[in-house]
């Protein structure tokens, strides 16, 4: 490893590092605009100049590789003057409209000109001005402010895989734009807003909403998909103003998908803010006591086989746990199901339902086979990792089922189930590829687990992996791609019925109690049934309910969520529930009191204690669960013929919060326009 000296400090850095990284390792701050850890090196802003011994000129440290024996200075007069000069040039065409710029307060240019710049400019001519460019409903552009760091271009090309941003014209006339000012066709597009070091690309929905110092910041977990991206929720007063990514190298690096970032405006519309009960066929608002009395009056005749619970897609672990307890102890029923559509899962062993390759290790894979999965829409962050595997590791990607554009190259094998059988029988070209690959992985989506074919798909893939010894402790190639944040937590709690038979039973004609815990997508027959809906937003299922109980959204409560790898993470309360709404676990606890059969969890921490005692797996946060691949059992299944059909998937409305978000609606419209005009000029 090369040894260098930075400001008199001897330091050893890995081969292939840059001088900038060496300076950082020595604890020296180097200002920069174009350099970014996760993007390729451009070296065009010149802000990172340092002095190097034996070099007559200052060198751009971000692009200079470290060599043994280099002597670097970061605090000499030469460096100071160089930085001042670069800053003066950068500000020549920058408008200095900080008071009306949304980046103000969190602007790299503002901060660095305070620290490294000079207090006045010698430039007397007119500044250039650049027309605004349309980049879609999320990205607001004020291109006069652009300093041409090209971070957005590199992000779109390298991480998002949509090379649509570029720099046109040249010299003084250079402008950053998308091709013919089209919407950026990516689910990661809004990350360019975070990357932009100035106010050229800012957030359109958040425009002029708040200043960064007015916001209360809460570190939390995203629930828009099953990835469990780490986020920061920024609130002003009651309202969630914006959501930003938080760095977690094991999961989302520093990106989040557009839905995670912008669905939050759905939190303030169409909320259920008071309990409702159905009186004379109409829902009318009431207080909690009335609602509970109404429930206890109507609930008496249902118990055991007549009581059903459906858990929705955004429910936290604690609520699911107390819900299960409520059903088991008070209603003496175990008819709880978290799947709102019929697909197959085998809960007998964790390996059967987890994404067993850690997300951070997807980039190490060299062969990826998607079985009825569209990671681009179902788990955008996972898709970015697969793309990374292809770029860094030349991973080959194959897909069973037509999934459309995934932002990287893949081969569509067709959608016949017989292909899986051929692979298992070594009569398909993939068989040899799997044998020769070092770290292959199968990703099975919910579409491939449809109830008719699911067991066959899962067991055949397991058979293929067993033949190739790929179900080991160190590399377990079986991966299930869940779509919902609550899925794995519910599986840990065993909230599922055999072959989703609960979903069949709730639609027969017997009168029964159906308790919907935020379940909006399941189709319910309201006739003869007593339906309780507990949730956050008005939707089709709250309309047909007999009682509606207002719950808390994911930003309004402390709760545990388990991501698709089986990693337990804690979402934090960032704001308050609306109106009369309460934390979901409190509602169920209060309901048990009202029914005269109290569950004695008086505080959230007692609830958690009980949870940890019954299910110790939730005790350890932010770590991957232990492998249980050794105990995996295999079933012999008879051949099933058919096709893997991708379920239609409306990315911008997968859950009730996103469905109520105005921004998500605009994104969908922009996407439709893009689809219509993409083939024209």
């Amino acid at each position: 490893m090369p040894k260098v000296k930075v400001d008199g400090i001897d330091i050893e850095v890995p081969q292939g590092s840059t001088v900038l990284q060496a300076c950082e390792a020595a604890g020296k701050e180097i200002p920069r605009f174009c350099y970014h850890e996760r993007l390729s090196i451009a070296g065009n802003c010149r802000m990172c100049l340092v002095e190097m011994e034996k070099s007559p000129k200052p060198v751009a440290s971000c692009a200079m590789p470290v060599m043994d024996g280099q002597v670097i200075y970061t605090n000499t007069e030469m460096v100071k003057k160089a930085r001042q000069g670069v800053m003066e040039f950068l500000l020549i065409n920058h408008p200095l409209d900080c008071p009306i710029c949304d980046q103000g307060g969190e602007c790299d240019l503002q901060d660095q000109s305070m620290k490294y710049g000079v207090d006045k400019s010698r430039y007397v001519l007119n500044k250039r001005s650049v027309k605004e460019k349309y980049m879609g409903p999320l990205i607001k552009t004020v291109m006069t402010r652009c300093i041409h760091c090209t971070r957005c271009i590199r992000f779109a090309e390298e991480i998002a895989g949509v090379p649509e941003i570029g720099a046109i014209n040249r010299g003084e006339n250079m402008e950053i734009t998308t091709y013919l000012e089209k919407t950026l066709d990516s689910e990661l597009s809004a990350n360019v807003i975070d990357l932009c070091p100035v106010g050229a690309l800012t957030s359109k929905p958040y425009a002029f909403e708040a200043r960064p110092w007015e916001l209360t910041k809460t570190e939390s977990i995203d629930v828009m998909d099953a990835v469990g991206s780490n986020i920061r929720v920024d609130t002003k007063g009651w309202e969630v103003k914006r959501i930003l990514p938080r760095i977690n190298i094991d999961i989302n690096e520093e990106w989040i998908s557009d839905k995670s970032r912008y669905a939050c405006d759905g939190l303030s519309v169409n909320r259920i803010d008071a309990p409702y009960i159905r009186v004379n066929g109409r829902l009318q608002s009431c207080d909690w006591i009335e609602a509970f009395n109404f429930i206890s009056k109507n609930i008496k005749k249902f118990s055991g086989d007549n009581a059903f619970g459906i858990v929705g897609d955004l429910v936290d672990v604690e609520t699911m746990y107390i819900f299960k307890k409520f059903f088991n102890d008070i209603l003496s029923s175990n008819n709880i199901e978290f799947r709102q559509s019929k697909y197959y899962l085998d809960a007998s062993n964790k390996t059967n339902y987890l994404f067993n390759v850690p997300i951070a290790k997807i980039d190490e894979s060299d062969l990826i086979i998607l079985v009825g999965a569209n990671p681009r829409l179902e788990a955008t962050i996972v898709n970015a990792r697969i793309r990374k595997a292809q770029i860094n590791n030349k991973a080959k990607v194959f897909s069973l089922g037509d999934v459309g554009d995934l932002t990287y190259n893949y081969e569509n094998l067709g959608s016949k189930l017989s292909i899986l059988k051929d692979i298992a029988n070594n009569s398909h070209k993939l068989s040899a590829l799997i044998k020769s690959a070092k770290k292959p992985m199968f990703i099975i989506g919910e579409s491939a687990l449809q109830i008719e074919i699911g067991e066959y798909v899962l067991e055949t893939v397991k058979k293929i992996l067993k033949q190739n010894n790929l179900l080991g402790k160190n590399w377990n190639a079986l991966n299930i791609l869940h779509q919902n944040a609550s899925s794995v937590g519910a599986l840990y709690l065993n909230l599922l019925s055999n072959n989703t038979n609960v979903l069949d039973k709730i639609n027969d004609s017997n009168p029964k109690l159906i308790y919907l815990l935020g379940a909006d997508k399941v189709k319910i027959n309201s006739k003869n049934n007593f339906i309780i809906y507990q949730g956050t937003h008005g939707g089709s299922n709250s309309k047909i309910a007999d009682v509606v109980l207002p719950g808390a959204a994911y930003t309004e409560k402390d709760g545990l969520f388990v991501n698709l790898e089986g990693r337990v993470q804690e979402a934090k309360k960032a704001t308050f529930t609306v109106g009369n709404a309460k934390d979901d676990w409190k509602i169920i606890k209060a309901l048990s009191d009202a029914l005269g059969n109290p569950i004695d969890f008086n505080t959230h921490s007692i609830l958690r204690e009980h949870l940890f005692k019954d299910f110790p797996i939730f005790k350890h946060f932010d770590v991957l669960p232990n492998s249980s691949a050794e105990q995996l059992t295999f079933k012999n299944v008879s051949d099933v013929n058919g096709d893997i059909k991708l379920n239609s998937f409306d990315y911008y409305a997968t859950n009730i919060i996103a469905a109520n978000s105005k921004t998500m609606d605009e994104c969908r419209k922009a996407k439709l326009i893009l689809k219509k005009t993409a083939t024209e000029n």
Binding site: G166, I168, N169
Partner: protein, 198 residues
């Protein structure tokens, strides 16, 4: 000069003709298959030659498809270089040199005449659709500054009178002879020979 003028009225389709397709084949042979995007500049040139001296957006798309390069990358190249035209140039494409030697010798007067006789903005067609003009950097004829290039010919040693004559000629399709408009030969000194005299 501001950014490149891109024609608003774009044709729907662009196809390379057979002759160009043959040339593309030869051009692509010059580069390894995995680096075929290097052929973007010769292909843009080919498209421009085939399509009346300007490149429509449909051609940019076509080239992107042939070379498997994102459209924006082709567009970046096409807007970067001045010799690619993204708007119709007309029958007479006038390029006026405005680099220092020509500027000292009064190229701004020629530019003003262009504005008067051709069109107010550069890269925009004249009213009769016959010509357009563009300010360019040094064309390498500083010895006979100021000068301009019309299609492939240099018109040098210009002054306002001779320039007006040329612009009138554009209108009537009667261009004067290319070369020095003062009748200089071989660009010997303007007044008297000094070096080779004795």
């Amino acid at each position: 000069m501001s950014g490149k003028h891109v024609e608003a009225n774009q044709p729907d389709k662009f196809e390379f003709n057979n002759e160009s397709l043959k040339k593309i084949e030869t051009i692509l042979k010059k580069y390894p298959t995995e680096r075929k995007k290097s052929a973007v500049m010769p292909l843009l040139d080919l498209a421009q030659r085939q399509h009346d001296n300007w490149i429509p957006l449909a051609a940019i798309k076509k080239i992107g498809e042939i070379l498997e390069v994102p459209y924006i990358k082709v567009y970046e190249v096409a807007t970067f270089y001045t010799m690619y035209n993204l708007a119709p140039t007309g029958k007479y494409f006038v390029q006026v040199c405005t680099t220092s030697p020509c500027a000292i010798r009064g190229s701004d007067k020629i530019v003003n005449l262009c504005k008067k006789y051709i069109s107010e903005k550069e890269s925009h067609l004249s009213k009769d659709g016959k010509s357009s003009w563009l300010e360019v950097e040094c064309l390498g004829a500083c010895v006979s500054a100021p000068m301009m290039q019309i299609n492939d010919d240099f018109y040098e040693d210009l002054d306002e009178q001779s320039a007006v004559k040329i612009f009138e000629g554009i209108k009537n399709d009667t261009l004067p002879k290319p070369g020095s408009q003062k009748g200089r030969k071989g660009f010997e000194p303007n007044k008297r020979l000094t070096l080779v005299k004795n």
